[in-house]
Amino acid sequence: MKRILFIITLLALCTTGIHAATLEEKVVEHTMKNGMKLLLVERHTSPTVSAWIRFRVGSVDERSDERGIAHLLEHMLFKGTTTLGTRDYSAEKPLLDKIEEVALALTAEKVQRAKADPAKIASLEKQLATLEAEASKLVIKDEFFELYSKNGGTGYNAFTSRDGTTYLISLPSNKLELWAAIESDRLQNAVLREFYTERSVVMEERRRSYDADPESKLWETFLASSFLAHPYGQPTIGWMSDIENLTRSKAEHFFHSYYAPNNAVVAIVGDIDTRSTIALVERYFGTIKPGKNLPPVTAVEPKQSGERRIELIAEAEPTVMIGFHKPAIATPDDYVFDVISMILGSGRTSRFYKKLVIEKQIASDIGAFDAPGSRYPNLFVVSADPRAPHTVKEVEDAVQEELELLKTTPVAQRDLQRILNQIEYEEARRMGTNGGLARNLTEYEATTGSWRYMTEHRGRIASVTPADIQRVAAIYFTRENRSVGFITKKEGNK
């Protein structure tokens, strides 16, 4: 048995060798003097290019009085610079200063809640509206978008997570200089104009994505209850009262503290010439001064010592989420969790699907994944929809049975080989689109310290043994370490 395992492992490693070399050969790595990391891949399938910039700063890096700022800042960075998005910045600047002065006074008054002076609020609100209307005349709305889009840019977007913030675009490959010019300008000269209107947009985003959607509301509550100390528990978008108290001053402070070339990872994938692309990026970004490195989050989640149960009563059918604390990405046990989540939750041959969906038919849908981030210790989550008349409890019990089985019975070699085969396919597939590859490169470079995590992953997975799985299951899948969130349908509702 040992010998067979050895041979299989060796075979897997060999194939890893071949494919890893492909990606290994394709990626060109370049670190600029100011610390900005560039990852380039030439792909000449179509005359297009995707450019992704990821900043190693996300909502996990927020202080308690600025929750939501990483995400709101991401919105604000679409608003232009001292030269773009404005007709005359020198005329606009004094107005923006006055707007901030009034907005700070208004925010300070409103936070008094019941004790606030309604007359003062009304007067400040009126002043703010007048000033904003005045400033608005000087704004060229969404000029970044307009410039990219008339040049054929698509997928111009950004997203903020616990771990990072990413800005992305795809362009015809002859237009890459436009990206370099806009993005280097944005990094140095961003102007957070139209801040308070955008803050309202984010409140609507919160209502849409969390408040009015029962499953997402449960998800938010479940995560918040799973972390007492670590900021992974706080929602990236912020609680409503957090958003209400965000100001342009706070956003500017956050921006100037963390948006620096040494905190940025750039991936450019597509129809490019590597050498000249490096020269282009150097020309536009090379003169930007480095900033402080991001300090690590100091909070450490205390060891959980008892099950936490979180109920949400909602106008929706039951759903259940079960979470267990686990280590950060690229730690030895994290690779074992990768294997476990594939065995339990990936595809029609996964144990959860076979047992709960096909055999017992107590769930209509079930999956397993890591959340809500990966840089710091996070959660292994199982999420399922019970199939009526079966209950949350029945699903929980069946899930627990599968977790117990991992502790007592070694996983079969064939199951491990299937996982390696799937990773082999995935290694090929993920190189098939510019955007997908740029996404992976920036993500893993930022969260694990090197994009080579991708090329080494299959080898790491191949070295996970059935005994590792039993050990990890026994350590982490305990009642003490478990949180359960579920929806109970509101009674007597229409």
Binding site: P47, E146, V202
Partner: protein
């Protein structure tokens, strides 16, 4: 126009744009770019011995082969009393085993090879798709052909699919956005098969024999188009396809039932669904047009200007200027077989519901009154022409696009003339198209939310019909 296209036909690498360091940085507003060569990629069309057309595009970048069969079938062909039949048939073709291979064995074999075979049936098209590493292609192709042509429709797996569908019906009113999307579509297509949705009763009425008959009727070699892309050898592939898809004994000629077009009834309806939420979901619209309408190019530009981009009028006013919504926009879904639709959508806090609805209607009405500006037309035109190449970024999307054009009967040269047709559209064309295809007074309007918190009574907008969101759930 010629000039516009010429400036796009081009060639040159980035070498020109990227000169030595120290060169002055360019202004994004006036930046000039090197020319770029872009020819629309072609796929080869071959007819197999059995008569089936196949589109081929070889690309060896990755050791992967992708394949899709498009089948002339769809939910429009199912009887209303068995609504859900085609959806379940599409699922069970794959999940119920095929060619005598049990579901369990098929899942195991495919996933061990990291191959995928999936099947589904939509409104007017069925697809079976394959993805595979090159080395596992032959075996995966066999399974693909079994799923496509000889599914077993295992009774137990049918029962699981039925129960899954019932569970999804139970959950259909959980997310207010899902309710609104469904109800606006039902209101627009009322009286047409496109408005039929599965019910507990219709799903309960489906038998295994229904699936067998439905499949037998539509899944035949003279009723499908294949597309293949990736790392294959052309000669070997064609040999394999010809030995896999063999015309059987002659069956009766294929006849597809005629499905009428939906009726153009421009009559307003106001539907309200009560949910205890702090944000209202708003959808409004009516029937649109189909691909054979000469106005489609003007409508595509109109779409971008009105509600299809981040700088569109709806987004600019409701989101950027007023902060009333995160998501707002509109879209002409240009119909292929059937008349399409126009739908505008947003979600806004309960306290600004009526305000947002009125704003949207007046912004939409605005494009029917005055011509759009030169700047708006230019921005839309440049985007559509310059981003055209993004429709051709993967070999799989190139071949399946070609197959789809044939499937829906687009005219020859549709893609080749697309940019010219966009470039020709004038402001007057857009105004005329807007007047013809937008009737804000005749919108069907759906609002999901808590009317007690609205800024004004919903009835100020017209007679309200309340949706019954209670589900008549049968005892399991």
């Amino acid at each position: 126009m010629k000039r516009l296209l010429l400036s796009l036909i081009l060639l040159l690498s980035l070498l020109v744009s990227v000169a030595a360091a120290g060169e002055a940085l360019s202004n994004p507003r006036t930046m000039k770019f090197p020319e770029l060569s872009f020819q629309i990629p072609q796929a080869e069309r071959v007819v197999l011995d059995c008569g089936m057309p196949v589109y081929l595009l070889r690309d060896t970048e990755l050791p992967i082969i992708n394949m899709t069969a498009m089948v002339r079938v769809g939910s429009v062909y199912e009887p209303a009393a068995k609504s859900g039949l085609s959806g379940i048939a599409g699922v069970v073709m794959r999940s119920g085993g095929a060619g005598g291979v049990t579901a369990e064995a098929m899942d195991d074999e495919l996933e061990f090879m990291a191959s995928g075979v999936e099947s589904g049936i939509g409104i007017d098209m069925g697809t079976v798709s394959l993805t595979s590493l090159k080395k596992n292609f032959s075996r995966t192709l066999q399974i693909f052909s079994h799923v496509l042509l000889s599914p077993d429709f295992n009774e137990k797996r049918l029962e699981i699919a039925r129960r899954q569908t019932v569970e999804s019906l139970r959950r259909q009113n959980d997310d207010p956005k899902e309710i609104a999307d469904r109800e606006i579509s039902r209101a627009i297509y009322a009286g047409h098969p496109l408005a039929d949705i599965p019910t507990f009763a219709s799903v309960g009425a489906i038998s295994r024999q229904d699936l067998v008959d439905f499949h037998r009727r539509f899944y035949r070699l003279d009723n499908m188009i294949l597309s293949v892309s990736g790392d294959f050898d052309r000669t070997e592939l064609l040999k394999e396809l010809n030995s896999t898809f063999i015309a059987g004994k002659s069956r009766s000629a294929l006849t597809l039932p005629e499905i009428p077009q939906p009726k153009q009834l421009f009559r307003s309806v106001l539907l309200y669904g009560k949910k205890d939420i702090n944000q209202s979901v708003i959808r409004m619209g009516h029937l649109g047009l189909n691909k054979n309408n000469p106005d489609i190019y003007a409508v595509r530009l109109l779409d971008y200007i009105l509600g299809g981009s981040f700088t569109s009028r709806l987004t600019m006013e409701i989101r950027t200027n007023r902060g009333l919504a995160y998501n707002v926009g509109s879209h002409f879904d240009i119909g292929r077989r059937f008349t399409g639709s126009f739908v505008a959508e947003t979600e806004t806090k309960a306290e600004s519901t009526i305000k947002a609805i009125n704003l949207m209607k007046s912004i939409i009405a605005g494009v029917t009154k005055e011509p759009v500006s030169d700047a708006e037309l230019n921005a839309a035109r440049e985007y559509m022409i310059n981003s055209f190449m993004f429709s051709f970024t993967t070999p799989a999307s190139i071949v399946s696009q070609r197959a789809r054009l044939e499937y829906y009967g687009y005219p020859d040269g549709y893609l080749e003339r697309y940019r010219d047709n966009i470039a020709k559209v004038t402001k007057a064309d857009i105004l005329e198209a807007a007047r013809k295809h937008l009737k804000p007074d005749a919108f069907k309007l759906v609002v999901i939310g808590d009317a007690a918190k609205f800024d004004q009574p919903l009835a100020t907008l017209g007679a309200v019909r309340e949706l019954d969101l209670r589900l008549d759930i049968p005892k399991p």
